[in-house]
């Protein structure tokens, strides 16, 4: 009889696990693209896809822990001021369970790792034969963008669609964090060193650049905007800026 009851209980636990997993997977598929800024680069596509994959992979694990916990709250708790009797099974070890748990978590971790290393390799891949180089300079509390090969210096960033951009980033006073929230690229601007990161804009439109490294009094206001335009628009913009300068 007790056996029967336990089996029934575990069915409920299993059902809870399935439901919670479905909820987790749904959040994983629905959430990232809607909660995160509009993707405007190949890096950002990959970031959002990775968020989806990781959430979907984590959902059954989290759901499993929550299902057992909810089950414990429903069936295994003892209320009142008197001490409960010792549990019927005084289990100290279960080698099979421990080994399965270890193997499952290792497999999952290795999967996430392989995915992550693959995505990293894609992000870090070659910038191609003809990237557009943009020099980025951070100082308290503004950004300056210059385009080598021209004499253009601009407080806002203009990028052509579809051409890989290689940012060369440095700082004049303290460390700043160069981050394009729509493009999934972020690297610090350091004094005396140049850091690099590259991405390929894939969508037209405006984006924000925010400082992500604490840089003093007006850190919160070290914000500028950028614009992804067509190649033709970009070339004419660059030419017009050169003439002004």
């Amino acid at each position: 009889m007790a056996e029967m009851k336990n089996k029934e209980n575990l069915k409920g636990m299993f059902a809870t696990w399935v439901i919670l997993t479905v909820v987790g997977v749904a959040i994983g598929i629905w959430g990232p693209a809607r909660l995160m800024p509009r993707s405007m680069s190949d890096n950002m596509h990959l970031t959002i896809l990775t968020m989806v994959v990781f959430t979907v992979a984590a959902a059954p694990v989290a759901a499993g822990v929550y299902a057992v916990t909810l089950h414990a709250l429903r069936h295994w708790v003892h209320k009142g001021d008197n001490v409960p009797a010792p549990a019927a099974e005084q289990t100290r070890e279960n080698a099979t369970l421990t080994a399965s748990w270890l193997i499952a978590s290792t497999v999952l971790t290795v999967f996430l790792l392989i995915w992550g290393l693959g995505a990293l390799a894609v992000d870090n891949g070659s910038a191609g034969r003809n990237p557009l180089v943009v020099d980025v300079t951070g100082q308290q509390w503004l950004w300056t963008f210059s385009y080598p090969g021209s004499n253009v210096q601009s407080p806002t960033l203009v990028l052509p669609e579809g051409r890989t951009v290689d940012f060369h980033i440095t700082a004049l006073d303290v460390t700043h964090g160069f981050w394009i929230a729509n493009m999934g690229v972020q690297v610090d601007a350091n004094v005396g060193t140049t850091t690099q990161i590259h991405t390929t804009p894939t969508a037209l439109g405006q984006f924000d650049i925010r400082c992500t490294q604490f840089c003093g009094l007006n850190h919160a206001f070290m914000v500028t905007t950028g614009d992804v335009v067509t190649k033709a628009q970009f070339n004419s913009w660059l030419a017009s800026q050169s003439q002004k300068a």
């Binding site: 970031t47 270890l102 460390t175 003093g216």
Partner: protein, 621 residues
């Protein structure tokens, strides 16, 4: 129960003994202020005031004076001083310092009794959490709407830095301070810690460090986050010198405490208390203490170098002078990541203990629990550069650090196996400690999974430096560690006071804190996902709603903590009497009277099995 010591006490005269018998917190404050003034006076009058380091040198001299005077005033130097002049403490002196027959006065003194130190740590934790919590409320109030309305940016930035460091210090001591001191020696079957005077030293040094840290707010504050990155630390005023010195002093406290915990467990266990029979909380305390001994020297090193840069232009971290800010970041995070587990492990160990006692079942897979904690401690020293993925430092090491970081989820997963395995088909007694344990399980899953996102470099390149990171580590520190610390408090409170922590108020505080954590930090995750960077004193309109929700949630957490504080204070004298063993547990701290007498045991017990055999209860209360 009469301890052997009380018999011995008749032969000594606790009265008299001169000035050393009158030292307490007040004389420590007086000593600290007088010597701080002396440090200021000497530096101010004898140093070259035209030097560009003048204000830093004067401040450093002042802070050294403070801590020296504080030690002198509390009596920390009496023992070594007596030893130096060849007149070591007598038995009567030792009993005096153990607080014999001194009632409540001993809580204000340099008391060597580990149980007094434990209670002093409870109070210290509450003070640090309270101060950090007030700053958190100020920060959230500033962020309730866009724009700077409540405090200006300079003040806000200082609040962010001091809030962060106060809370880190508070959580480092929140479980290890009270319970590794109060219960670990008794759990081992020891009469006190291995080094009782060092125990008092660790506590009072922490008080001195907290004084320095709080002074930061009064001397122009800081202009950066708690990590105080170079080179921006150079732009800070003298608040930075107070901050750096408070950290150096704090690491003295943790080092002394860590050595003491390890030595106590290694050398003071009673007969039959083999390593395999130790309560799991003792293992957690030792592993955390050992990890702290590895990690905190980096902390004092990095702050000492900052002080040297500021005082003597050594330019360790100054790019123009041959240094680099990346060196500071590396040293800081070599400390900073292990430190997270110094904070987490004691809480997890306490929760293992609570899960077992409350479920009336042994800790599931005791050896797995130890392996998980050891594995986590070992891995944690190899992952520091994941805090630096976006700094631009050594991009080729990104892959290896991603590997070590993601491996962390394996030992962390074992903690869930142990807790769930322990509760599996148990008779889980729903009392206050259990409720906070359930809260911990819920929050720690969210903390863990969001950590996996951040360990992945393509995701970190998007989310690093945003509110997503802030929300992640608040799920770790508030949702998990603080919940664990409160569970531990509710669990051992009856042993300290003889009374239960008020169940009703405790539950009200739980629900306020639990819902508050979800409201605050889930909304903060959304702020981060939508693109709001950390440490912003103001923000654009697209972050308006989530920030408003976060602030409301933060107020709920504060309300919960105030109710808890009320419960702790009220139950101390008016709570329901609990008896010596209210949870019917078998570890040694429950088998001594409540409150435990000076030196704990009349006759040292002999141990024949571990404390997790609930079929044969040793003592029914």
């Amino acid at each position: 129960m009469t301890s052997t010591l009380e018999h011995a006490a008749h032969t000594s005269a606790p009265e008299g003994g001169g000035l050393a018998r009158r030292q307490n917190f007040l004389t420590a404050m007086i000593g600290g202020v007088v010597f701080a003034w002396l440090g200021w006076f000497l530096a101010h009058h004898f140093l070259d005031s035209s030097s560009r380091n003048f204000s830093d040198l004067v401040t450093t001299s002042l802070t050294i004076g403070w801590i020296f005077g504080f030690w002198l005033g509390i009596g920390a130097l009496n023992g070594p001083g007596r030893w130096l002049i060849g007149a070591d403490h007598t038995r009567a002196d030792d009993l005096y310092y153990a607080g014999e027959n001194q009632g409540r006065a001993r809580y204000w003194k340099y008391c060597t009794d580990h149980k007094v130190v434990g209670v002093q740590y409870i109070v210290m934790t509450a003070v640090l959490l309270g101060a950090g919590g007030i700053l958190a409320m100020a920060i959230r109030t500033e962020l309730i709407v866009p724009g700077n309305h409540f405090v200006n940016q300079q003040v806000y930035n200082g609040f962010v830095a001091v809030h962060g460091m106060l809370m880190i210090l508070a959580l480092i001591v929140a479980v290890a301070g009270p319970w590794a001191n109060f219960v670990v020696p008794i759990m081992c079957g020891a009469r006190d810690m291995a080094f009782p005077r060092l125990n008092a030293l660790s506590l009072w040094t922490l008080v001195g460090a907290a004084g320095l840290l709080l002074s930061v707010l009064a001397v122009g504050s800081l202009t950066m986050g708690w990590v105080v990155l170079a080179p921006i630390a150079d732009q800070a005023g003298v608040g930075m010198d107070f901050f750096a010195m408070s950290i150096i002093v704090f690491t003295v406290s943790t080092t002394v405490a860590g050595v003491n915990t390890i030595c106590t467990v290694m050398t003071m266990r009673t007969k039959g208390m083999t390593l395999a029979r130790l309560p799991i909380f003792v293992w957690a305390s030792v592993i955390a203490a050992a990890l702290g001994l590895y990690a905190f020297p980096y902390f004092s090193l990095v702050e000492a170098q900052t002080l040297l840069d500021r005082n003597f232009n050594t330019s360790f971290f100054v790019a123009g002078g041959g240094g680099t800010g990346w060196l500071q970041a590396n040293l800081f995070w070599l400390m900073g990541h292990p430190e997270v587990y110094v904070i987490l492990l004691p809480a997890v160990g306490a929760l293992f203990e609570i899960a077992s006692v409350m479920s009336r079942k042994p800790v599931f897979s005791y050896r797995t629990a130890i392996a998980g904690m050891t594995g986590l401690a070992g891995l944690s020293i190899l992952v520091w550069a994941h805090h630096m993925f976006t700094t631009g430092w050594a991009p080729t090491l990104g892959g290896p650090f991603m590997l070590t970081t993601e491996l962390i989820s394996i030992p962390t997963g074992l903690f869930f196996l142990v807790i769930i395995g322990t509760m599996w088909r148990g008779n889980v007694w729903m009392k206050l400690p259990t409720i906070w344990l359930f809260g911990f399980i819920f929050n720690f899953i969210i903390a863990g999974i969001t950590g996996i996102y951040l360990s992945d470099i393509p995701i970190d390149n998007q989310l690093h430096g945003t509110m997503f990171v802030t929300a992640h580590f608040h799920y770790v520190f508030v949702g998990s560690v603080l919940f664990g610390a409160i569970a531990a408090l509710a669990f051992w409170y009856p042993k300290v006071t003889g009374r239960f922590l008020d169940e009703t108020m405790g539950r009200i505080s739980f629900w306020l804190a639990f819902i508050g954590v979800q409201v605050t930090f889930l909304a903060m995750f959304v702020s981060g996902l939508r693109g709001m960077p950390r440490r912003y004193s103001s923000y654009s309109l697209i972050f308006e709603h989530t920030n408003f929700i976060t602030t409301i949630g933060a107020y709920m957490i504060m309300a919960g903590m105030l109710v808890l504080l009320g419960a702790v204070v009220r139950s101390w004298s008016h709570g329901e009497p609990a008896g010596p063993n209210p949870w019917h547990a078998n570890s040694l701290e429950w088998l001594v009277p409540t409150p435990p007498p000076l030196e704990n045991f009349d006759v040292l017990p002999v141990i024949t099995e571990d404390p997790y055999n609930y079929r044969e209860e040793l003592v029914r209360s």
